[in-house]
C-alpha cells in the first residue's frame, strides 16, 4: 500500500530559489559580460539559500503538524517524463528523512555562503570570478535540494548529476592552474563510473516492474517491493549462480553511492577535490554532496532490508574505507588533505551504520559530521586565509597565540570529531559503533565494531596531530608569510564558524541515545530516531544499558588514547616523530604516498586507456581510417581522375559540346522508342 501524503506547493520554492539566484548571476555574466556590483551579488546569492532555509523551516513545521499516518508533504509540479508506461513526475517529497537532509543542506549551505563572502573577497580577477563562484554555489544548492527532495529516482538522479557537474565546476574554479582543472576532471570521471552503476540500478528496477506497471516513485516502489523481492537473476557460477534481484539492484545503486560518497575503490577523487576553494570543500566535499550516497541508501532502505548480501557489502566497504582512509590521514601534512581523508573515513562510518541496518544512526552521523566537518574545513580556510594561501602544516605551528578565535572554534571541531562527550561526534559515532556491535545479520560484525573502534582512536590521533602541528609548538612560518602579517579573518568568516561550533556542540542532543535519556529522566530522548521511524527501518537492538555504556566507555578510551599519543608526539616530544619517520621509513613512505593507489590506478586504467585512445583510436581509426582513407582518400581519388582523364572533356569548342548533346539526345530517344 502506498503511504498517505499531504499535498502542498511550498516545496518547489526550496529548490527554485537557489536556481533563480544561479540563473540571474549566470545569465547576466554570460550575456552582459559585466560583473554586478559585489553588494548585489552577495544579496542575491546569500539571500536565495537563506530564503530556502526559511521555506524549509515552514515546511518542517507543516510536517510536524501532520496527522498520524501521513508520512510527508508532496509537491507535484508537472509531469516531467511520460514515455509510455514509464511516467516520472517532477515532484518533491518532504518526509522526515528529506526534512533532516534539507535542513542540513540549506542551513549549513547558508552559513557557508556567508563565509564565502569573506573568503572570496580577495578574488580580483577580471573574469567575473566572484559572481561566477556564487553562481556555481547557488546552482549546486539547487541540484542538492533536487537530490534530497526528489520524489522518485529520476528527479534524484537529476540532482545527483547536477551536484556532480557543480562539483566539477567548483573544483576547477581556479582553472588558470592546470592541476586544479585536472582534479576537476578526475572527480567528474570517477563519479561517472559510479553513476553508471546507479543508472543500471534504475534500469533494473524498471525492468523488474515492467509487467505490473513500471515506476520509480519511492512510495510506489516501496509498495511494489514484494514483487521485486520475489524475483531472482542468474549470475556466473563463481558468484553463486543465482541472486535475488534486490541484491543485484542494491549493489548497482551502491556503486553509484561509492562514487558520490568516495568509498573504496572510487574514493580517489575526493582528496584531489581539495584543489577547489575551501568553502567548496566544506559545502560540497564534506557536508552535503558526499553524503548523497548515504542518503540514497537510507532512502532505498526498504530495498536493502530485502537484500542482506548488499547490506553486508555496504557495511564492510564502509568499515574498510573508514580505517584505510584514517591511516592515510596520519601521514599527510597538507591541512586540507588531512580533512579530506578524514571525510572519506567518516563517510565509511556512515556506510558502516547503513549497512548494519541502522539508517537513523547513519543520518545522525551525516548531520553531526556536516556540522563539525564544515566547521573544521571553514576553520582551516580561516587559517589558510591568515597564512596567505599556504596549506602545508610544516610551515605553520604556534598559531594559537595569533589566531585565538580560529584556534578556539577549530578545537571544538577537533573535539567533536574525536568523539569526546558530550559533543555531537561522540553520540553519533557511538550509535554507529553500537549498530555494528548488534548487527547479527552481517558476517563478522564484531570485527567491524573493532575496526570502527580502532578508527575512532586513529581519528582522535590524526585530528589532534593536525591541531597541534597547526596551532601549537614552535612557529615554522616562513619569513615571507610572516612579512605579510598573520591576522584573524573578517567577521563574515568568523560568524559562521561560531554558529557551526555551537551546532557541533549541541547537535548530539538531537539524537541522544535512550541510555542517556534514562539517566537524565527524559523519555523518548532520541528524537531524531523517533522522527525518522516512519521512513527508515530502525536498528532494533536489545542490548543491556551496561553493555551500551561499556562500549561507549571503550570509545572514549580510544579517543583519549589517540589524543594522548598525539600530545606526546607533537607537543611533549616534538623531535620524536622525525625519529619514528626515519626508523620506519618504508611505512612512512607508503602512508605519505597514500598506499600508491593513485599510481596503481594510473598504471592499470589511465595509462592503458590513454595508450589505446592515442595509438589505436586516434592515430589508427580517426587519423588513419576516417581522415586518411575515407575523407582524404575520396578527395584524392576524384582529383586524380579529373586531372588525368575527365578534364579533357572540357575542350573549349562549342560545337564539340553541341555534337555530344545531339548524340546524347538521339541515344536517349532511341532507347525510349525501342522500349
Amino acid at each position: 500500500m502506498v503511504e498517505a501524503v499531504a499535498s502542498t506547493d511550498l516545496l518547489r520554492w526550496i529548490a527554485l530559489l537557489p536556481l533563480l539566484g544561479a540563473a540571474v548571476h549566470g545569465v547576466l555574466l554570460g550575456l552582459v559580460r559585466r560583473e554586478l556590483p559585489r553588494g548585489l551579488v552577495i544579496a542575491l546569492s546569500v539571500g536565495a539559500p537563506a530564503l530556502a532555509f526559511v521555506v524549509t523551516l515552514l515546511a518542517f513545521f507543516q510536517l510536524r503538524a501532520l496527522p498520524a499516518g501521513t508520512i510527508g508533504l508532496v509537491d507535484e509540479v508537472y509531469t516531467w517524463v511520460g514515455a509510455g508506461r514509464v511516467v516520472a513526475e517532477m515532484s518533491f517529497l518532504f518526509d522526515p528523512l528529506s526534512a533532516v537532509m534539507c535542513l542540513i543542506v540549506t542551513g549549513v549551505g547558508t552559513l557557508i555562503h556567508v563565509y564565502s563572502i569573506g573568503y572570496m573577497d580577495d578574488d580580483h580577477r577580471d573574469d567575473g570570478g566572484f559572481q561566477r563562484f556564487f553562481c556555481y554555489l547557488n546552482l549546486f544548492l539547487c541540484a542538492m535540494l533536487l537530490l534530497v527532495l526528489g520524489d522518485n529516482l529520476l528527479v534524484m538522479f537529476l540532482g545527483w548529476e547536477g551536484v556532480g557537474l557543480c562539483s566539477y565546476l567548483l573544483i576547477g574554479f581556479w582553472y588558470g592552474d592546470r592541476w586544479n582543472a585536472y582534479c576537476g576532471m578526475k572527480a567528474f570521471v570517477v563519479n561517472r563510473i559510479g553513476d553508471f552503476g546507479f543508472l543500471v540500478g534504475i534500469f533494473l528496477l524498471l525492468w523488474a516492474l515492467a509487467d505490473t506497471g513500471a515506476t520509480l516513485d519511492f512510495r510506489e516502489l516501496r509498495a511494489a517491493l514484494p514483487e521485486i523481492a520475489a524475483r531472482s537473476v542468474a549470475v556466473p557460477e563463481w558468484l553463486g549462480g543465482q541472486w535475488r534481484l534486490t541484491t543485484l539492484i542494491g549493489l548497482c545503486l551502491f556503486v553509484g553511492a561509492m562514487g558520490k560518497s568516495a568509498q573504496i575503490p572510487l574514493y580517489v577523487w575526493l582528496p584531489d577535490a581539495m584543489a577547489g576553494p575551501t568553502p567548496v570543500s566544506a559545502l560540497i566535499h564534506a557536508a552535503t554532496m558526499v553524503t548523497a550516497g548515504v542518503y540514497m541508501v537510507c532512502r532505498m532502505s526498504f530495498l536493502y532490508a530485502e537484500a542482506p548480501g548488499a547490506s553486508a557489502v555496504i557495511a564492510w566497504t564502509g568499515g574498510i574505507t573508514a580505517i584505510f582512509a584514517a591511516t592515510i590521514a596520519i601521514a599527510q601534512t597538507d591541512i586540507k588533505k588531512v580533512l579530506a581523508y578524514s571525510t572519506v573515513s567518516q563517510l565509511g562510518y556512515m556506510f558502516l551504520a547503513a549497512g548494519c541496518g541502522a539508517y537513523s544512526a547513519a543520518i545522525f552521523h551525516v548531520g553531526t559530521h556536516a556540522f563539525f566537518k564544515a566547521l573544521l574545513f571553514l576553520g582551516s580556510g580561516a587559517v589558510i586565509l591568515a597564512m596567505h594561501h599556504e596549506q602545508d602544516t610544516d610551515k605553520m605551528g604556534g598559531l594559537r597565540k595569533r589566531l585565538r578565535r580560529t584556534h578556539a572554534v577549530f578545537l571544538v571541531g577537533v573535539l567533536a570529531i574525536a568523539g569526546f562527550p558530550p559533543l555531537s561526534g561522540f553520540f553519533s559515532k557511538d550509535e554507529v559503533l553500537l549498530s555494528a556491535w548488534t548487527a547479527e545479520g552481517i558476517p563478522g560484525h564484531q570485527w567491524l565494531w573493532a575496526i570502527g573502534l580502532v578508527t575512532a582512536a586513529l581519528t582522535a590521533f590524526y585530528m589532534f596531530r593536525l591541531h597541534f602541528r597547526t596551532f601549537w609548538g614552535e612557529s615554522r612560518v616562513p619569513h615571507e608569510i610572516e612579512h605579510h602579517g598573520i591576522h584573524e579573518p573578517a567577521a563574515t568568516v568568523l560568524v559562521p564558524l561560531y554558529l557551526l561550533a555551537f551546532l557541533s556542540v549541541v547537535a548530539g542532543f538531537a539524537g541522544l541515545p535512550q541510555v542517556y535519556g534514562d539517566m537524565l529522566g527524559v523519555p523518548e530522548s532520541n528524537s531524531l530516531s523517533n522522527f525518522l521511524r516512519q521512513v527508515v527501518r530502525q536498528g532494533e537492538h536489545h542490548v543491556p544499558h551496561s553493555t551500551e555504556l561499556g562500549l561507549a566507555g571503550l570509545a572514549i578510551l580510544a579517543a583519549v588514547l589517540g589524543t594522548a599519543l598525539a600530545w606526546f608526539l607533537y607537543v611533549a616530544q616534538p623531535e620524536l616523530p622525525a625519529r619514528i619517520r626515519s626508523g620506519a621509513s618504508a611505512l612512512h613512505r607508503l602512508l605519505v604516498n597514500k598506499y600508491y593507489v593513485d599510481e596503481l590506478y594510473d598504471a592499470l586504467f589511465v595509462r592503458p586507456l590513454i595508450a589505446i585512445s592515442d595509438r589505436v583510436l586516434f592515430r589508427g581509426v580517426d587519423a588513419g581510417l576516417i581522415d586518411g582513407f575515407a575523407v582524404n582518400g575520396s578527395a584524392r581519388t576524384v582529383r586524380a581522375l579529373a586531372d588525368d582523364v575527365l578534364k579533357y572533356l572540357q575542350g573549349g569548342l562549342t560545337q564539340g559540346y553541341l555534337i555530344t548533346m545531339v548524340a546524347g539526345t538521339f541515344a536517349v530517344l532511341a532507347w525510349l522508342l525501342s522500349a
Binding site: K647, Y648, Q650, G651, G652, L653, T654, Q655, L658, I659, V662
Partner: protein
C-alpha cells in the same frame, strides 16, 4: 488538305538541315540562323499535330516558341556583336579559351 505525314516529313527535313548547319558551320551568325531553323521545324510539327487532333494546345506552344526565339536572337546577336568588338571575329573555332 495536306496530310499529316507530309507536314511531319517537312518538319523533320528542316530540323535535320538546322542540326547539320549548327554542327558544321563556323560562322556564329549562321549557327544562330540554323538554330532558328530547328525551332521553326518544331513549330511546324506543333501546328501539324494541332490540326490533326483538332486541339489548340499546339498553337499556344508555337506562340511561346516564337517569343523564346525572339529573345534568343536578341541575346545571341548581342553576344556576337560584343565578341566581334573584342576579338574581331565571328568564327567559333577562334573562341575556345574556356577549357582545361
Amino acid at each position: 488538305m495536306i496530310p499529316l505525314e507530309h507536314v511531319i516529313g517537312l518538319s523533320a527535313i528542316l530540323f535535320l538541315i538546322g542540326t547539320v548547319g549548327a554542327l558544321t558551320r563556323r560562322n556564329l551568325i549562321v549557327i544562330l540562323m540554323s538554330i532558328e531553323l530547328m525551332l521553326n521545324a518544331a513549330n511546324l510539327a506543333f501546328v501539324g499535330f494541332s490540326r490533326a487532333w483538332g486541339e489548340h494546345d499546339g498553337h499556344l506552344f508555337v506562340l511561346m516558341v516564337i517569343v523564346v526565339a525572339a529573345c534568343e536572337v536578341a541575346v545571341g546577336l548581342g553576344i556576337v556583336i560584343a565578341l566581334f568588338r573584342n576579338r574581331e571575329t565571328v568564327n567559333v573555332e577562334d573562341v575556345s579559351l574556356l577549357k582545361w
